[in-house]
Symmetry: C2
Subunit: 355 residues, 2 copies
């Protein structure tokens, strides 16, 4: 029986009499330990046996290993918080430049691919070693467009010109790319998918948006991704040359549990390609990024498409990098632009030691 049970006692409070004060509606201690243990586990529990982040040799056969951060089988707790602290996984590289490419998106897919490639190469020229693209950068953001612009990422090649470009650029420029998202066709289903490419052009991970964007704020914003898209089923955390990165897409950022899982697994950075809109953008976009960063004490990067006032779905813009104290390090308005900023992972451990 893994579910939590409530213990409830009633008690009366009488001024002059000792009373049973155990009157809380509360979780029993064991369950609390288990919950907190699950989400912010004590590091003693992080044994090599249970956290198999790097594939074992027997799984690799003769395929080349993509460059991944070495994961220690035992780590140490840098703070003494009573409910544990996320594990410290030393990144291969502590400091590097990230580029957030807030791209304009047109109806011409070939233009979108060439345009994104140019932005990535420009950012690489300026020293960016990690590139983050927006949600749905190769297609207009609409249920009518998703099926038309969708690509078969697994088939690759001509079946997926968008990810082919990302693979080629990441290899030629030796950079890591978090490829925003594109509509993905897989069999008879469509997904909203983010591909991560390593410096050798390999696909390191693919995240399918878990939490589809179905909202209905009368008179302001109604959109149902579920009309065309299928939800992904799994969180995605990936080791790259620029740290261990947890991936979410747009609405995924609303789910604190997802970020908490990534933090518990040693993520240094969460990347959320996302196209919030003119209603939810001013309400929640920055709040959610700062909350994820401050709660998990790690970096959070977001990347939106640039705003196109003439499109059916108007993006909020405001791509942002947030530091592990929840502080906005760099942000922008809604025009097309590329933000380049430095990430320094040593700050994470400093912040965790402070608090």
């Amino acid at each position: 029986m893994s579910r939590v049970r409530f213990n409830t006692n009633d008690s009366t409070y009488v001024d002059d009499t000792s009373s049973d004060i155990d009157s809380n509606v509360q979780l029993d201690h064991e369950s609390l330990e288990r919950r907190y243990g699950d989400i912010n586990p004590n590091l003693d529990e992080y044994s090599g046996e249970e956290v198999e982040v790097n594939p074992g040799e027997e799984d690799l056969e003769d395929t080349p290993i993509s460059p991944v951060t070495e994961v220690p089988t035992e780590t140490t707790n840098s703070t003494e918080q009573n409910c544990g602290s996320p594990p410290h996984i030393p990144p291969t590289r502590e400091k590097f430049k990230i580029a957030l490419c807030q791209l304009s998106v047109a109806t011409d897919k070939e233009r979108n691919i060439a345009h994104a490639q140019q932005a990535i190469e420009d950012a690489a020229d300026k020293g960016a070693q990690l590139i983050l693209l927006p949600e749905i950068w190769n297609s207009p953001y609409s249920n009518d467009s998703f099926p038309v612009y969708a690509e078969d990422i697994d088939a690759g090649g001509d079946a997926s010109p968008s990810t082919r470009m990302l693979s080629e650029v990441s290899r030629s420029r030796k950079i890591t790319i978090i490829g925003g998202s594109i509509p993905e066709r897989s069999g008879d289903k469509l997904y909203n998918s983010c591909c991560v490419f390593g410096t050798d052009g390999k696909l390191l991970a693919k995240h399918r948006k878990i939490h589809l964007f179905d909202i209905d704020i009368p008179g302001k914003m109604t959109f149902k991704e579920s009309r065309t898209l299928t939800a992904g089923e799994r969180p995605t955390i990936v080791d790259t040359e620029v740290g261990r990165i947890g991936i979410g897409i747009c609405y995924d950022i609303r789910f604190q549990e997802l970020a908490a899982i990534y933090a518990a697994r040693g993520a240094h950075l969460l990347c959320y390609p996302g196209a919030f809109n003119m209603t939810t953008g001013p309400l929640h976009w920055e709040l959610l990024q700062r909350a994820r960063a401050a709660d998990c004490q790690l970096y959070v990067a977001t990347c939106s498409p640039a705003r196109d006032g003439g499109s059916s779905y108007v993006a909020w813009g405001h791509s942002t990098l947030v530091g592990p104290f929840g502080e906005v390090l760099v942000t922008t308005e809604h025009e097309e632009t590329t933000l380049i900023a430095e990430i320094d992972y040593s700050v994470i451990e400093q912040r965790r030691a402070y608090l």
Copy 2:
């Protein structure tokens, strides 16, 4: 074996070849379901058997039942989010006034008790039906003071004049009081404890601060509650005449998991008495409140002591009520004041339906 295991495959990305893209470092689906199920459970799982919020008759014997909200044994899911929505527990009262008493605290405990009583009565005169007091309102906030001002709440009467006053006022004014916190002596241990009193003066719940405030930001703020205090072990959620309320004290607000547990148990309102300081206050006080409210889509109320620039620990002030979209409904600066604002729980369901 309840721990989550990682599945990791390596894969190569070759443009013209179908590739295994299952390369994520990811949780298996069953584990994700279990995690999300635990924290935001589907309502099907909320059976009367497992959620015993009201005590069964056999537990009550002849002690009077404190007034509690009726809890349906089955509830319905008002939204169709794919990872579940918190249960809707209809509150007894949908609209009421809450008072946040941002009290000045002196070294004279008797003065502090009389002063708090006056503020509570004034707020009740203005129609407040729920009163929230600050963290450590009967004592200076210092490790030297905690043992001196601590009271034996369980013994009651003369052993706990602070909670005796709260009990008497709640009964005489027929109001619910979330009694901030006071240092509690229990055997040879001290706790930072919040007592909740119902409209009949009964102690409905007592929350002992779970996450002690031990921080060390060199040159800015160092404090170690654990020098004198013992951490509480259990979350506290309590049914009152003004809704189901989850309690945290100050540093407890940093732990999203605690708020998520309360939301999953149907809380309408989270109350955090808290004395953030001049370093952490501007950094995180409002951010954390808004994050808890927006993530859980419920009300969050905080209450700080007023600022005393001459004390060893200078409180940030800024008591605040936040609505279920993460919007600040009412807030203040750092002077002594009582904020009175209306809470309307029907907004919670509306917000959850929107998003």
